[in-house]
Symmetry: C2
Subunit: 582 residues, 2 copies
């Protein structure tokens, strides 16, 4: 019993699994990874807070306690949680809908959103509802992420131009940008464009350059990751030195110094009602993004992650964010890859990163006063443009028009109506198209391949058939969405065929028959009986047969259930024909 309890405890507190083998070597690996991720995370955290419409320090707060919470409850060894682009955009959209003007109330709404999302994720984890994430098809997610990247990049252009602009969809954003374009501040443009160009070059060109100067690959890597920090330092110094803030360059300004404040979500039920759908979408999208990153990285080291426990880990992170002045967080792709590549071996790397960010919050915040918002916008633009990938359109176009339709609709709707409508429609369209496809299943009329016991489509092969016997092979499970299709199909085929005496439904590919389909089979049986035709079934799978035996159908059926289609044919054909067949 104690051993069992230990296993159960380790399952729900993964920290217990890796803590017992923790040693100096893993410590070193984790520390190195933590330094690199911290350097990368400081500008990102500030930038994503800006994207969410929140004060910069909230980005730092959201990168401290949540990492520790994930370290305790999460199952991925390399996942780095914190504010990420898409979830920050969704946060902005969710709170933007409420029309809150007061910044304190706005921040409270963000904290509440993190708390609600955390509670939802924890609940889904406890109830083992991880499968819910499956309702988002991959092409829909890809389309959604691409469209979100475009929306995010566009929304940041205002900071590059130093103008005001707002909007929740591409049309509103572009209109608003064009409207305010005459107010462009050229100092801001110079900083913004230079920073963007520099950061793009850092992504591609810095590492090879450092290598050519003789740095070791690891140092070159750290150097390249420090690119955004360099941009932050240089543009801050320039703005400070030339007094550009007085020339209209927007700066981050006063960032409070100190440890994250203790915060509590609002428990105003009206606010909860307004944020409910948004919180659910953020939870699901955040989970899907995070779990796919975690799975990719785990597989590279032959490790396993447990999706239901991941829900608990992310839920705990969001609750931790809510009580420490943060906003919704999830596992980010680029930072997790950096963490993994830098050699992080356990979630302790995340905890060390948290300490790094905490030091930044304690010590560095006064230095951020003159940081131009344009630099942060440049960081965001460079990060999100790597999310934009239209190749999913051409892939799905080649592979399946139905999947293409789902992606295209998701992209268009996200760009045209914003993230929430975009992703909800994507889910709706995926489900609708799936039901549509299965509602018209493939049904083949089959006959016996001469000299074998195999049955094949009469339209594709030379097979034996007989006018008194119709065999239909159904290539789909039978359930409510296709129950009436089968009924129609059988009637259409049977009406007017006066020589027909037996119909056999060959069920080798039928994995389920639900109650609606059972009623359809009963209706088919009754109507065929009225026409003097017997209904039979063949090759019914075990579990399906078990269930049929619990209904009246098998007793009411005019014909029989045959183990194999060959048996059915042998039994049902009139004597002379049987000879020619066998």
């Amino acid at each position: 019993m104690p051993a069992l309890n230990r296993a159960a405890l380790e399952r729900h507190l993964p920290i217990l699994q890796w803590a017992k083998t923790y040693n100096n070597e893993t410590l070193t690996s984790d520390l190195v990874a933590a330094v690199i991720v911290t350097i990368m995370l400081i500008p990102q955290s500030l930038a994503y807070a800006l994207l969410a419409g929140l004060p910069a320090e909230m980005g730092l707060y959201a990168s401290i306690l949540p990492l520790i919470a994930y370290g305790i409850f999460g199952t991925s060894r390399a996942l780095a949680v914190g504010p990420v682009a898409v979830v920050s955009l969704m946060t902005a959209a969710a709170i933007g809908n409420l029309g809150i003007e007061d910044p304190t109330q706005y921040a409270l709404a963000a904290i509440t959103l993190a708390f609600m999302s955390g509670v939802m994720l924890l609940l889904m984890g406890v109830l083992r509802l991880g499968f819910l994430a499956n309702f988002l098809s991959h092409p829909v997610i890809a389309g959604f992420i691409t469209a979100s990247g475009i929306l995010i990049a566009t929304s940041q252009l205002k900071h590059i131009f130093g103008i005001k602009a707002s909007g929740h969809n591409l049309v509103e954003l572009v209109e608003s940008l064009l409207h305010h374009l005459p107010d462009t501040n050229w100092y801001t443009v110079v900083i913004g464009v230079t920073a963007t160009a520099f950061l793009f070059w850092v992504r591609k060109g810095l590492k090879p350059l450092l290598l050519s100067y003789g740095l070791t690959p690891r140092l070159a890597d750290i150097g390249a990751k420090a690119g955004p920090v360099a941009a932050v330092v240089v543009t801050t110094l320039v703005t400070f030195g030339f007094g550009l803030d007085k020339a209209g360059v927007k700066i981050v300004g006063d960032v409070p110094m100190g440890i994250p404040p203790l915060s509590a979500p609002s428990f105003d039920m009206e606010l909860w009602g307004q944020l409910f759908v948004s919180a659910l979408l953020i939870s699901v999208i955040g989970f899907v993004e995070s779990v796919s990153v975690a799975q990719t990285l785990a597989a590279k080291r032959r490790q396993r992650i447990n999706p239901d426990q991941e829900l608990v880990g992310l839920g705990a992170s969001n609750v931790a964010s809510a009580i420490s002045g943060g906003f919704p967080v999830t596992g980010g792709f680029s930072r997790s890859v950096v963490n993994f590549d830098a050699g992080a071996e356990t979630p302790a790397a995340g905890a060390f990163t948290a300490v790094g960010i905490l030091i930044a919050a304690l010590v560095l915040t006064p230095l951020l006063f003159f940081l131009p918002k344009a630099t942060l916008a440049a960081t965001i633009i460079v990060a999100v443009l790597s999310l934009v990938d239209f190749s999913i359109l051409s892939h799905t176009w080649r592979y399946s028009k139905v999947d293409f339709a789902a992606v295209a609709a998701t992209i268009v709707l996200t760009l045209g109506f914003g993230v929430e409508i975009g992703v909800s429609s994507g889910v709706g369209i995926s489900i609708f198209l799936h039901l549509y496809k299965t509602s018209k299943p493939h049904v083949a009329e089959v006959g016996l391949v001469p000299g074998t016991q195999h049955f094949r489509n009469i339209h594709r092969h030379q097979v034996h058939t007989h006018k008194s016997l119709l065999t239909l092979r159904i290539d789909e499970s039978l359930y409510f969405a296709n129950a009436s299709f089968l009924q129609d199909y059988v009637y259409d085929r049977v009406v007017g065929d006066d020589e027909l005496k037996n119909v056999v439904l060959m069920c080798s590919a039928v994995n389920e028959i639900d109650h609606s389909a059972l009623e359809s089979l009963e209706a088919i049986n009754t109507r065929l009986k009225d026409m003097g035709i017997k209904l039979h079934m063949s090759e019914v799978k075990g579990p399906v047969m078990d269930r049929l035996q619990r209904s009246h159908f098998l007793t009411d059926m005019t014909g029989r259930v045959f183990l194999s289609q060959y048996d059915a044919m042998m039994e049902l054909l009139p004597e002379p024909k049987q000879k020619t067949v066998s």
Copy 2:
């Protein structure tokens, strides 16, 4: 070409098909059926108008032009269109939500609802969206109809007690009834209870009694159908004779005499917005009810109905209702059965019924002044209690707990929150449960049955396997809802199995692989490659293979696609083992 045009025209105007063979004999059959249905329809039409919260004459109007429109465009020979219980209740719920006080505006909203529903049905017909009705599973419909029957019967109790009461769900209705119970009018109770008891007896006892008096079965049938008319006549005379209206018995009052007025729906877009979802639900529910009745009756005479053309027929009926002062209509079960049993051979019977109702509207309306509302309520109660059937609960409980859950939830939600939430939730729950079931498909590890080329589940049969070869048979199409399940399943099985060299996915029951599943297969391939394991497939169906060949997957795959699982085993096993197997 003229022949082709003729066929196309007949398809869209079914009247052309039957009109050309119309003769004296069919005329007689249709006329007799029309008389019986007319007698039955007069009190029903008045009653359902009352149920929808509308003036009695609108019930008559909704039973004239819509029948003629269906006769022209509908494909069922026996379906009788008009106001029906469930749709009338849904109309009351839809307009009740708007909080309209003015009766003229209320009637206008009903007319608008009929028009919107008509346009939606026509559109669905033209776009061939009849399959949409399939999203309602049979058990959900059965649960919904049963719960609606209870709601309707309860809502009519106020007329039996002569009190005021309102509410859109069972709790509200019962509370409201109990609250107003002290105001009971005992004259009304005597009329209401007597009429209800009489009508129940008519259903069971009148026909045998008439037969025992020596009437022919057909006359006895007509006599029994005239029961409601008798109740109407007697209670009207009693109310008139004793002046019971002055004693507080609510009467129908002034019903305008004359042909249906020309009416037009409102084109107020705000009203359209408010009624949109309701109109959609009414269209779908009305269509599902109607088409199942039509199919049942058509099959009895080996006739066919065309669901897409049925949408057009019902759409035309509702538009006809809207322009002639009516409200939403559909094909009713009991009246269609009566029509069919009475021998109706063509939709002309419906047209003759329309003439009968028209005569009633022209001549009989003054006689309805003293008709007690309690009598109409009795008609409704007796009619709808036949819809209440809880046996679907026990059937589904035995057959499938998932279907049971859908029915039980639909019944509880309809009773607790009203028809609109009830039926929407029912659809949602059906789809959710279906996705849930298919999101965890059956996957079996299989091995070779000795002496055959067949592969069976290793847990159920004695089969040959080899530690270097894992064969998984997937018993479901692969799509977004189960794509990650397969990924998890394969990783769970493979991690830690160091002797494994080859994994074969046996795809004999895989009818589709969508783009999400393709990506999962790619991920599985990549991760197995990292582990030094090859991925193969076997028995891939033709259409699935065609599609895979349009992607990169087959080139990237580490292993091969085998035509049969036996080939795969022969090829992949190391030499010594091969001999023991074959």
